[in-house]
Symmetry: C2
């Protein structure tokens, strides 16, 4: 689809930018300087904007493959015997990927509500596949019934966010992941009705 019948220099620039962006975003997170990326790719600012009209478009290009892989993995795990363990395993892999770039959890969460974002489109198929894993674990009685895929996605992304907040808390990532997962298990439901905090 993309990349067909482009001029050779355009093709080359596209790839150079993507390659450099991967490095820079790894270093600086999703808020990395676009100017810096253009500079290090030895490309004019206009060229970067031509290929990636928004920051999200660039991030999406960086992540599309991972999202597709994770979506495929979710479909694969739908066939597993233990639906509880399948969900746990998928979320573990998702968390690992979400920890690739600082700020990624936030970018994903924010774009959930923005239909126009390239990240939204790219991410939603994956989220739906994950939602089916949640549903199956619920049908088997492993996950409390009063939650949905979005709750699970939000909480695991939140653990990813915590890990980004500094070395002191980063070391607790896996522990917190376990806490959250345990908390979503059926049987942990409290009898108290929640009331608003403010």
């Amino acid at each position: 689809m993309t990349g067909r019948q482009q001029r050779a220099d355009a093709q080359r620039n596209y790839e150079r930018i993507l390659e450099v962006a991967r490095t820079v975003v790894e270093e600086q997170g999703t808020q990395a300087s676009l100017r810096d990326i253009a500079r290090r790719a030895e490309v004019g600012m206009g060229t970067l904007y031509r290929h990636f009209p928004t920051r999200e478009a660039l991030l999406e290009a960086l992540l599309r493959q991972r999202f597709d892989t994770l979506a495929a993995r979710a479909e694969e795990l739908e066939g597993a015997d233990d639906s509880r363990e399948a969900l746990r395993q998928w979320l573990r892999e998702f968390l690992s990927r979400a920890s690739a770039y600082r700020g990624l959890s936030s970018s994903m969460m924010t774009t959930i509500g923005d239909e126009d974002s390239a990240l939204h489109a790219s991410c939603s198929a994956m989220r739906e596949a994950a939602g089916r894993l949640v549903k199956r674990a619920q049908d088997d009685g492993h996950i409390r019934p009063d939650i949905d895929g979005m709750d699970v996605f939000a909480l695991v992304s939140a653990v990813g966010w915590i890990a980004e907040q500094g070395p002191v808390v980063a070391g607790r990532r896996d522990h917190l992941f376990s806490l959250v997962l345990d908390g979503l298990a059926a049987g942990a439901v409290s009898g108290r009705a929640p009331r608003s905090a403010d």
Copy 2:
């Protein structure tokens, strides 16, 4: 302590800046433009920097009173009958305060590891008081024993973070808060040993 024997104009500027900062940070979050604050306070940039050498120092001045109040509230709740409900109540109030400014959860979490930050100092007394509430609830068997105050603080801050990520998820704040709290209750412990995700 502070505010003693200052020149009248200095005192006035300090208060003006703080007042304007409250409004601007409410609007724009903790990443608000310092230039904008100085401009709206009708004060030179140097004046802002003289009174608040770092962004955190300004934020701390904005929040000190709230932190003190929350710390006092925690000590008050230490005397409550139901230690489980006391913790829940305190965390509810904390979450409400943490939702005052966009980015505040992140600022608090990040400065936990930075001893030099004004926010760190201001926040730590409150965190310690909250830690005692957690400890008491654990001693009474209401909270699982394999966690500490930092875990609880991180997870509830994470819920605050989620609520900042857009209107779609913001509506789930109280629901997610309940999920997390239920998950920390004793008896929800899983039998599986956690392993690293990457």
